[in-house]
């Protein structure tokens, strides 16, 4: 059936037959014939689909649109509206068909997917992201059509407020309130910006969301444009994401061709264009005022707020900035309702959150879970536990701005407040699982190296403070830590948290302060006992050759300082004074005869 475009599945269970499904079938066939679509449409009869109360059930694929209580008279409308015009027959769509979790039908109910709930990523992996028809077939742009035809701008903002959605970029500011502020700020021109400058090391949910479902973002932005009275949208995206950029470009082009963007969208009074602007490798541009400066063609340096961008943003005009994940929730909220959305999650954090789970966990990748899921659920039930049989040591959430939580906090629920209460943050959703082979001082140093390198250099606490903190951490890992160093880190850290100009500097000390709080013993071991229990900090290690040595001489040959001696087939020894702790012998030995401690 090379030409088949649609498969209509008709429930042929007794209940539906009783309610008239057979006549519906005849009517469908008649309508198909009328439009000469016999080659394109095939009708399947299925066994009972279990939705007997809503029969007769008609399912249109691709798209898995479920129509219920279909009558003979409705059949022609389904063919004409859905198949020919590409529009849903909304009044027949079965309510339970939420937009989320469509992937179950494709990926089934395994552990990894089964415990997730996919709203943001609902279409990722389901649709062809370069084909607008695929998106349309899954009720794509229906939310936009709905707001243009049925809702006032205020209704839209109210719906978003009702949903309880909060900014997914890290700040957690109530999205509806932000829209309201921007809508009410004085000015005749406004901008809508999608912040796709995802730069957290180890986080890639925005990239996946755009690459997998670019139209959702565009639709969300257009809805906001209508709600706040803006005609101009901008996606600010990292230049490092060429595929995402390409897909966005294609999506914008296709949407414009279909009158879903551009002038008088869908015949309405509303016009909205979206332009792509590229970043150029500066993490700080995720901060909204820095992002604005970058779009304006300047150095991406933050400025003090207020004024907030919602009042004075891009080119001095009121500007609404949300991140990718936030935008992806909007069409769902419009179609399934803010009230429904707010039923998911916890008291203060609604909906779902996408996390990029990485590090020493069996299943790495993106997971989307309802707010309130525990860290333990994510690490063990979805992530499959620790890889390599090691022992769990910490989980780092929130990227370089977040904190490291030890095992005792594993039952913490992921929501904005709970994570903050235990000294970490939700951030944009990075989640790194750390096992016993990682040194927490070294981990803190790693994150600080990142923020230090990404500091824009504008404010003193971040520019100079993170540098000094990094120096102290470095000397601790090199065995040169001094009494008082922990206190200095705490002092600089709290100062930078409270005094820095922007979120980057304010949160840069988090990995350090949280590891001091939760793993202070490791810091003290490094400083006072000159020991790194994880065996990571080279300068603090002692390499020893043990009985297992067969005297093969491999270690002796690789040692760059000739610190290893021993005759062939005899136990070798390491001269500790000459050893520079490069670890090459350890890596080379095939007999596990060298230990480091």
């Amino acid at each position: 059936m090379p030409n088949t475009e649609y498969i209509i599945t008709l429930c042929d269970g007794p209940s539906c037959i009783h309610k008239g499904s057979r006549t519906v079938k005849d009517a469908l066939e008649e309508a198909i014939a009328k439009h000469n679509m016999q080659d394109k449409v095939k009708i399947h009869l299925s066994g009972c689909l279990g939705m007997c109360s809503k029969g007769p059930i008609v399912i249109v694929n691709p798209g898995y649109t479920i129509y219920g209580s279909v009558t003979e008279a409705d059949a022609a409308e389904i063919i004409e509206q859905h198949l020919i015009n590409g529009k849903y027959v909304t009044r027949l769509v079965v309510d339970e068909d939420h937009l989320y979790n469509r992937f179950f039908r494709i990926f089934g109910d395994n552990d990894f997917f089964g415990k997730q709930m996919r709203i943001t990523l609902r279409n990722c992996g389901i649709i062809d992201p370069e084909n607008i028809d695929d998106y349309l077939s899954l009720r794509g742009y229906e939310a936009l059509a709905k707001v243009l035809t049925e809702l006032t701008p205020k209704d839209v903002i109210d719906e978003v407020k009702t949903s309880g959605l909060r900014g997914r970029g890290g700040g957690g500011f109530p999205t509806g309130v932000k829209w309201d502020f921007t809508a009410n700020a004085p000015g005749d021109e406004r901008y809508v910006i999608c912040n796709a400058d995802e730069g957290d090391p180890g986080a890639f949910m925005d990239r996946s969301a755009i690459e997998g479902d670019p139209h959702t973002i565009l639709e969300g932005m257009a809805i906001a444009g209508y709600a706040i009275g803006s005609t101009k949208g901008i996606v600010y995206i990292r230049a490092e994401y060429p595929l995402a950029i390409k897909r966005l470009e294609k999506a914008i082009e296709d949407a414009s061709k279909n009158n879903l963007l551009g002038d008088n969208i869908l015949g309405s009074e509303f016009s909205f264009d979206i332009e792509i602007r590229l970043g150029a490798g500066a993490f700080v541009c995720g901060e909204e005022t820095a992002l604005i400066h970058s779009i304006e063609g300047s150095r991406g340096m933050p400025r003090p707020r207020p004024p907030y961008p919602s009042v004075k943003g891009l080119f001095g005009k009121p500007t609404l900035i949300n991140n990718v994940e936030t935008w992806a929730n909007i069409p769902v909220i419009i179609l399934d309702g803010g009230k429904w959305f707010s039923s998911i999650g916890t008291e203060t954090s609604k909906g779902t959150k996408v996390f990029a789970v990485a590090g020493m966990v069996k299943n790495t990748g993106l997971v989307e879970v309802p707010m309130g899921t525990t860290l333990r659920n994510i690490v063990y039930d979805i992530g499959g536990g620790i890889e390599g049989g090691g022992k769990f040591k910490a989980i780092q959430t929130g990227g370089p701005s977040g904190g490291c939580l030890p095992e005792e906090y594993l039952d913490t629920k992921v929501d904005y407040e709970s994570l903050a209460a235990v000294g970490s943050i939700m951030g944009s959703g990075g989640m790194i699982v750390i096992d016993e082979h990682s040194c927490m001082v070294d981990v803190a140093k790693f994150f600080l190296e990142f923020t230090q390198d990404e500091s824009c250099g504008k404010c003193t606490p971040c520019r100079e403070g993170t540098k000094r903190m990094l120096e102290i951490l470095t000397r601790i890992t090199q065995g040169k830590g001094k009494p008082g160093d922990i206190e200095k880190l705490e002092r600089l850290g709290t100062m930078a948290q409270r005094s820095s100009l922007c979120g980057l500097g304010q949160s840069a000390p988090n990995p350090v302060l949280s590891t001091i709080k939760n793993f202070r013993q490791e810091y003290e071991d490094h400083i006072f006992n000159k020991k790194c229990v994880a065996g990571v900090c080279g300068a603090l290690l002692t390499y020893t050759i043990i009985e297992k040595c067969v005297g093969c001489g491999a270690c002796k040959r690789v040692c760059p300082t000739n610190a290893i001696s021993g005759t062939r087939k005899q136990l070798h020894t390491i001269d500790q004074d000459a050893c520079i702790k490069c670890g090459q012998c350890y890596d080379t030995c095939k007999f596990e005869a060298i230990t480091k401690a």
């Binding site: 730069g199 957290d200 090391p201 180890g202 986080a203 890639f204 990239r207 996946s208 230049a239 490092e240 994401y241 060429p242 602007r277 590229l278 970043g279 150029a280 490798g281 500066a282 993490f283 970058s294 779009i295 304006e296 063609g297 300047s298 150095r299 991406g300 340096m301 080119f315 990029a356 990485a358 590090g359 020493m360 790495t364 990748g365 780092q396 990227g399 990075g430 790194i432 750390i434 990682s438 790693f446 994150f447 990142f450 824009c456």
Partner: protein, 164 residues
């Protein structure tokens, strides 16, 4: 050679001219610098002068922007750009060792170009391929699950291919 350069400059000027009819034309500076890098591989000083004139933006401003963003190269780069991902996942899985091995094999530090102009070594922030960490990207191609050894072998392969 010079003709080719003139051609590129013409192309650049056309690109700039197209942006200048938009609102807030100066805001296209970063896009224009991306174009310059696309054409020349880096941001040559004399080309930044051309941009300054065509966009009516002071050179100091352009220089401030060019040096702020790490994506822009201020010096000519090698034939292949080797980016070692230093994202968290890669770091946890041994990106440091891969980087050390590459530095040694190519004979340069981060940000430098090898003497034979074949490779420029760079550090990258998360390339989004955490599932196959540690990864490096050579030009547009991603290689994953690397060790110091396999990474050097990759470089050798590129070197061999370049020699034909």
């Amino acid at each position: 050679m010079i003709e080719m350069k003139d051609q590129k400059i013409d192309e650049l000027k056309e690109y700039i001219a197209a942006t200048q009819s938009n609102d807030n034309p100066e805001s296209y500076l970063i896009a224009v610098l991306h174009k310059v890098q696309g054409l020349f591989g880096y941001l040559p000083r004399e080309v930044m002068d051309v941009v300054a004139k065509a966009m009516n933006i002071p050179t100091a401003h352009i220089w401030g922007v060019a040096t702020f963003y790490h994506y822009f190269n201020l010096k000519p780069v090698g034939k292949h750009i080797v980016s070692v991902c230093m994202g968290t996942a890669c770091y946890v899985r041994g990106a440091g060792k891969v980087l050390e091995a590459l530095k040694k094999n190519i004979g340069v530090e981060i940000g430098e170009t090898s003497e034979d102009k074949l490779f420029t070594l760079q550090e990258a922030r998360c390339l989004g391929a955490c599932g196959i960490a540690p990864v490096i990207m050579i030009d547009d191609k991603i290689y994953g699950e690397l060790t110091g050894k396999t990474a050097t072998e990759l470089i050798k392969k590129y070197r061999k291919a370049a020699k034909g």
